[in-house]
């Protein structure tokens, strides 16, 4: 069904209407039968009254009668003695005792034929049938009219009452709708109706299981990354020692396998660091220490720190804009900047250009990192935030180690700061532009 409210309104109104109307019809039939019996008794009384009336056996007498009633008095030898003005001169009905339905003068009549042996008179009285039904009709209309007039009111009341009854369901839907994607806290169970309580309890049980499952996954990944750090560091040291030993033996050429080993260990160390950063910066678990900081100054510091990467690739880096203040976590923002700069360096060709800017636009503070690399197609904009996703997959052309976690970390940190990430084409004409849009801090909050 499309709507519970409409379903209940239609079915309830239909049931009310059906029950009431069928009852009214039965009532009407009973009324008709009762009226029939009443009028029949009246006809019998009229016939008996006429039988007691002295009738001269001479010429036919015509008497006035009410319009809806006719009568005839016949002698034993079937001679008309008395008739009402509207009655025909022929017998209204055959000479057989009892009630009959007859037609004459354009109407249907209910007739009663009686024979009175005391005076030997046949008396036929008849009454218009439609007038009998009119009484029953009036009674039925009086009974049905209030039901008919009450139906729209009943419909309106059902509409409101059902709406009120469904309000708990609406509130539950709103509570679920307003929940943030990462919010897995149970729903409040403040006195929901009996019928909804199992639903709320089931949803809460599901949320609890989901939260526990996420937590397990997060802990396992974080612990695994942490535990891997030490052996990787040891391997790095051993590889370095091995290289020194080779150099010590006077060999000019270091074996290619050792170079590859060092490269792989370096990549693995980077991956473990990135994984740790990813789980460290999860908004729900990160112990943020927000402070007022100058984003421009922070960007300059990180650029200076990471400058060797750009210098190695002979890339030109510019920092534009001026002092802009945000409330942020220095450590997290440093990781964010490093990831953005590493990505820019990675995808910008040798001797390419990178532009970092901090600007104030209306109510927002924008941190923008633009590169002069190949850029990415628009349809990939949402996917690049997925963990371990790299455009081109294993065929990735970058020579710099990467694991596809950088932008996931950036997304975590942006969410931690309530900032929005916007992707677009860089001002170099080609390449990617990543903009982090922070909300501006009010003047009085700055000091």
């Amino acid at each position: 069904m499309k709507s519970i409210r409409i379903f209940l309104l239609i079915t309830l109104l239909s049931i009310i209407m059906l029950v009431n109307f069928v009852s009214a019809l039965h009532g009407y039939r009973d009324t008709v039968a009762e009226a029939q019996r009443l009028f029949d008794r009246q006809l019998g009384a009229s016939a008996r009254l006429l039988a007691d009336m002295p009738v001269a056996s001479g010429a036919e007498r015509v008497v006035a009668q009410p319009e809806a009633m006719v009568m005839q008095v016949w002698s034993e030898d079937k001679k008309l003695l008395v008739r009402s003005a509207d009655a025909p001169v022929k017998p209204l009905s055959e000479f057989a005792v009892g009630f009959k339905e007859i037609n004459f003068s354009g109407y249907r009549w209910r007739s009663l034929t009686e024979y009175f042996p005391d005076n030997g008179h046949w008396i036929i009285v008849a009454e218009r049938s439609d007038l009998r039904y009119q009484l029953a009709d009036k009674l039925a209309i009086a009974a049905v009219l209030p039901i008919l007039l009450g139906l729209p009111v009943a419909g309106l009341l059902i509409w409101f009452v059902v709406g009120r009854g469904l309000s708990s369901l609406r509130k539950l839907a709103e509570a679920l709708h307003s929940k943030r994607a990462e919010d897995l806290t149970p729903l409040p169970e403040c006195s929901p109706p009996e019928e909804l309580l199992p639903v709320v309890q089931s949803i809460n049980a599901l949320l609890t299981r989901l939260q526990a499952s996420f937590e397990r996954e997060r802990r396992f990944s974080a612990d695994a990354a942490h535990e891997l750090r030490t052996p990787i560091a040891a391997i790095q040291v051993h590889a370095h020692n091995l290289e020194s030993e080779f150099k010590g033996t006077g060999q000019k050429l270091i074996p290619a396998s050792l170079v590859k080993l060092e490269d792989s260990v370096h990549r693995m160390a980077h991956l473990v660091e990135q994984m740790l950063d990813l789980f460290r910066t999860t908004p729900e678990h990160y112990p943020a220490r927000f402070e007022m900081l100058n984003l421009h100054a922070l960007a300059r510091e990180v650029l200076a720190e990471e400058y060797p990467i750009f210098a190695q690739r002979k890339q030109q880096v510019e920092l534009l804009g001026g002092r802009v203040f945000i409330r942020g976590d220095r450590f997290a923002l440093t990781i964010l900047l490093k990831n953005l700069l590493h990505n820019a360096a990675k995808y910008t060709p040798v001797a390419g250009r990178i532009k970092v800017s901090t600007t104030l636009v209306k109510e927002d503070i924008l941190l923008r990192v633009e590169d002069s690399g190949p850029g990415i197609p628009e349809e990939e904009y949402t996917r690049i935030f997925e963990r371990f996703y790299r455009i081109g997959g294993d065929r990735h052309q970058s020579t710099v180690p990467g694991c596809g976690l950088g932008l996931s970390i950036v997304q975590h940190i942006a969410r931690l700061h309530g900032a929005i990430i916007e992707l677009g084409q860089s001002s170099f004409g080609h390449g990617l532009s990543v903009t982090i849009r922070f909300t501006k801090v009010k003047e009085d909050e700055r000091d």
Binding site: I10, S14, I15, L18, D137, I141, V144, L148
Partner: protein, 260 residues
């Protein structure tokens, strides 16, 4: 007068409303939009008034049996349309989005025709009392009671069909379409007997003691299955024949679909 009004209106309303219930349930089953239903209501209502206004002239045509012939034609046409609806319903159930527009058009046509036929009779009946103001309240209240009972039964029937699991809704919709369609062809045969185009015969049986035609239950059975307390052999043959033909077509289509 009130009871007569109830029965006249109930009979006509039930016939259309039950057909609408089954077709709306089919619409829902195939997740179609019910726009055709509103258009059919509007068109059917307009055509009913036009047909009702001209019924006197139509009756005079073909030697005084014009109304019987036209109504019989409409009934046979609806019978054919309902076969097409049942076939398309089955085909669409297995092969989604096959000639859905055609199906909606056929349903629109069938309902418009049914409303035009039954609505014109209600229109003629009610308007004949405009000149008898004392009888009008009874007639109108009776008509409202009849329409109310007809509407309620059909609305509940619709929700009953929708409440069934989809497989049962399909089967029961096809069965009801067959019974309703056979009722249409039975009516056509009765009209042709009235027009002396088919021979009048002695009734085969009289079941009025078991179920009176003029009771609410009798009217309900009439609307669903074309119940006739005193059917002639020819009427029975037409009724059974119509059911066999339609079920045969449905079974054939079902067999072909299952084989594919």
């Amino acid at each position: 007068m009130l009871l007569t009004s109830v029965m006249v209106v109930l009979r006509e309303v039930l016939e259309v409303a039950l057909l609408l219930s089954v077709l709306l349930a089919a619409t829902r089953l195939l997740e179609l939009r019910a726009r055709w239903f509103y258009i059919a209501l509007l068109l059917g209502g307009c055509f009913a008034v036009i047909y009702g206004e001209n019924l006197a002239k139509i009756s005079q045509a073909f030697g005084g049996v014009g109304q019987e012939l036209v109504n019989a034609g409409i009934s046979i046409f609806i019978y054919i349309l309902l076969i097409v609806v049942a076939v398309l319903l089955l085909v669409n159930w297995h092969k989604k989005h096959y000639k859905l527009l055609t199906m909606q058009f056929v349903m629109l046509l069938a309902v418009t025709m049914a409303i035009m036929r039954e609505g014109s009779e209600i229109y003629v009946y009610l308007t004949s009392f405009w000149l008898h103001p004392p009888l009008l309240p009874s007639v109108m209240i009776g008509a409202l009671l009849g329409a109310g009972i007809g509407y309620s039964l059909s609305a509940l029937f619709y929700y009953l069909l929708c409440g069934l699991s989809q497989r049962y809704t399909l089967g029961i919709s096809c069965i009801f379409l067959t019974i309703l369609a056979a009722g249409m062809s039975l009516q056509a045969s009765q009209l042709l007997i009235q027009a002396d185009l088919l021979p009048a015969q002695e009734p085969l049986w009289d079941s009025s003691r078991l179920l009176e035609e003029n009771s609410i239950a009798g009217q309900l059975f009439y609307a669903i299955s074309g119940y006739e307390a005193t059917p002639t052999p020819l009427e029975v043959v037409v009724y059974v024949g119509s059911i066999v033909i339609m079920l045969g077509i449905i079974a054939g289509v079902y067999y072909r679909i299952s084989r594919d």
